[in-house]
Each structure stands twice: as structure tokens, then as C-alpha cells.
Symmetry: C2
Subunit: 209 residues, 2 copies
DNA sequence: TAGCAAATGTTGCATTTGCAACATTTTACA
DNA sequence: TGTAAAATGTTGCAAATGCAACATTTGCTA
């Protein structure tokens, strides 16, 4: 995953952050950081920790929209923040640096040496996010649990270049990512094994075709 | 929707396009434009016409991943283009300008007056795409057709700031967007009407709560 | 390391859904 | 403007799935 400050030395990072009017906040585990959010558009970079965007139903049903790990970023431009159903929860103690969106093109910063790297990193990160979401949409549009699982397994296999891989989350989280009932998913996984389509060993999966 | 060349005058657009090594191609209706795609990463801008990204199953089931209208853009960085299951079909006669991704930060172009506008437009478009996809993911993760419909209706109402709105596509296309069976969706819509939750008049929907 | 919480596995059952087949209406365009 | 294609509406039925309830295993931490 690309870091927003990749290929930029410490000195220039400090300079860019200054021009970007960056401010850094630290949150404890389990708080909703969107509750006291700045005015105006911003970009948030996760220095340490991780967060999760969660959508909650009128029924209390929760679905994870996105997991953002250490080094990741998110922005007010990419989330319907004013949607009261969406919250952004820290999964652990988390330090976040906020950047004002309008400042990314101010006069000072575009004269900075590493500015082009910064912009290219930002564009790359956004592109990767679109790509990731396209992958998830392609999976979610499959009608059956079986097809969702197979599409997910195929996308993992494609990404790793290997028909054997370890899924990077628990089965409980996978069910949430695929938006299916966990127990029904377990059932379908055993059918896939019975039919000789996959082999499993814990979270290690092998596609057999 | 933001256009990649918004706030840039004709002269500078020509200059930027030259530095970007832009090439323009025109396609007839109904062809897969990814079949003969350039080497390397690129950004494609739709000058006239529109395209649709479609994923096709081993069963032949098709699902629309994204509709891109006139003025829209897409890129090799945001689509798993090497995935043989995804195709990009022109919905009508379509003219597309291709830009080489690496050239968006070449030495010539960053000296151009309107470069900052160009970059800001690009970032805005990518952010909007992420945001749109987050909305769709939030809808697709709902378990029932009823909840998918309601989430979609709410997101439309939110966006328009009005509980009455006209859906911007056919019901057939909506079923595809929600990834549900069209006839089952029609059935669910009449249940929603019976239950007094919505009112409809053709594609005009009113949320009654 | 004991104990508790989370993850995983299993199954019956009611509900939801896709699918198919068909009638009717609307739209596009030759 | 006539006609074919697309969109819309309806319904029976079988398949898929969510849900609930429970047993078992794993992992964390006090």
C-alpha cells in the first residue's frame, strides 16, 4: 500500500505538513472520530492504529464499509460524512493527521521540491481505493453466497498470483465483507469442499481448478 | 460532475493535452474498448458518448460495475483491466481521449499555468468516484431487496434534498445496480406501496416517512 | 494457566429470492 | 406512424439464505 509521504525525505515531509496546515490528534480505542470533525473538506492520514467505517441500520444491523489500516488515508470528499448512519470507529489507540483539502494546492507548497511525489502518491492512493472498491462491488453483485465466495477467492488468488493463500481476516469478518450470514457461509464452504472445488486448512484456502 | 478540464481555457487544454501525449479514438456502439488497449497505465476521458463496465460470470450472468457518462473518466489504475471477466462496452458512438499516466507529472506540464486546476480536478473526480462506490457498497451490503431499495431511495433523497425524486435510470437498470432480480424487485416495490412506505408514479418516487 | 470472550462449526426452519413464463405497456426508429 | 424491441407487471415454485439455538475450539489476558 502506498503511503502519502512515500519517496519524500523527513525534512520535506515536515515542510509539506507545515504548508498543509496539518494537525495531529490521538484517539483511544473504540471512539467515533467523526463526531467532532473539523469544518470543511479534509484528508486524514492514519499515523498509528486503524479505523473502521461502519454503517448502522434502523434495526441495528451493522455492516463494515471499509477498514483502514495504519498508513492509510480517508477524506471527507470520499465519505458521506453527513450521513448519520455512518460512523468511523478506532479499532485501537489511533493517531491521525488531518490535512485541509484546499491547502494541497496552495502557493507555498507547489514550490516545494517533493510536491510532485506528494501529488502522485495521493492520486495513486485514491486510484487504489477505487480499484479495491470495484473489486468488492464485483463480489457483492454476485447473487449467491457460493458465487461471492468464489469471486473473492479468485480475486485473492489473482492478487497473490497463487491458488493457495491465507485469507487476511477471520471468517466472521469475511462474512461481513461478503455481506452474508456467517453460519450460512460456513455451510457453503463445506459444500465447496464436498464438491472438490476448494481445499481448506484453517484460513488457508486452495482453489482446485 | 467535475470535468477533468474544468476551469481551464481552450488554449491551455490544448497545451496540457499535448504535454500529456493525449491520443483520441472513436468507437462505434457496442464494442469492447479494453480489447485493444494501450500498454502501460493510462487515464481515459470520455469526450462524447458513454461506456459501461460489465463483469461476466462463467454462467453468463452479467453485472454492471460502473456506468461512465460523457465527460467522465476511468483509468487502468482503477480497474482490474487484466481481469478477463471485465469488459468495457460503448453504449453508443463514443470518443475517448487517452492520457499516459506517467506524463501527468512530467517536467513540461507542471510549468503550465493551469496545471494546478488539472490536478485538483483529477483528485476531485477520483474522490467522487470513491464516494459513489462507498454509497453503492452501503446499499449492496443490505441483506434484503426491501432494505436495498430503501437505502437507495434514502441516498437519492439525501442527495437531492427532497423526499420526492425521479430515479435516473430504468427499473431494469436499477435492479442491476442493486443486484437483485428485476421481477422480485417489482414485487417488493408493490409491497412497499401496500405498506404505505413509498408512493410511486412511474419512475417518480416519494418516501412517505 | 485458568477462565472468559471470540471464533468456528452444525442444523432445522421460515422467509426471501431467483427463475421462468407470460401479458401488457412504452419506447425507439425505420 | 407502424412495428419491433425494450421495459414493466404478475405469479407459482424451487432453491438459497437468514436466523436462532447450540456445541466446540481457539485465543487472549488477568
Amino acid at each position: 500500500m502506498v503511503n502519502l509521504f512515500e519517496n519524500i525525505n523527513e525534512q520535506n515531509i515536515r515542510k509539506i505538513k507545515r504548508f498543509l496546515m496539518a494537525s495531529t490528534l490521538t484517539y483511544p480505542k473504540g471512539v467515533n472520530i467523526l463526531s467532532n470533525v473539523n469544518q470543511g473538506d479534509f484528508i486524514a492520514i492514519i499515523d498509528h492504529g486503524s479505523v473502521q467505517f461502519i454503517s448502522t441500520d434502523y434495526d441495528g444491523n451493522k455492516s463494515i464499509i471499509e477498514d483502514i489500516p495504519e498508513g492509510g488515508m480517508f477524506g471527507s470528499l470520499t465519505f458521506p460524512i453527513n450521513n448519520e448512519e455512518v460512523s468511523c470507529i478506532t479499532k485501537e489507540i489511533t493517531q491521525i493527521t488531518y490535512i485541509e483539502y484546499d491547502s494541497i494546492t496552495n502557493d507555498e507548497i507547489i514550490k516545494t521540491d517533493s510536491y510532485i511525489f506528494f501529488i502522485k502518491n495521493l492520486i495513486k492512493i485514491l486510484s487504489d481505493q477505487v480499484s479495491e472498491k470495484n473489486t468488492r462491488i464485483e463480489i457483492l453483485t454476485k447473487k449467491t453466497t457460493r458465487d461471492k465466495l468464489l469471486e473473492y477467492f479468485k480475486s485473492e488468488a489473482r492478487e497473490r498470483g497463487n491458488k493457495t493463500f491465507t485469507i487476511p481476516m477471520t471468517f466472521t469478518e469475511l462474512a461481513s465483507y461478503l455481506s452474508v450470514d456467517r453460519s450460512a457461509m460456513t455451510r457453503e464452504i463445506s459444500y465447496l469442499k464436498d464438491d472438490g472445488i476448494i481445499k481448506t486448512n484453517g484460513r488457508r484456502i486452495t482453489l482446485l481448478y
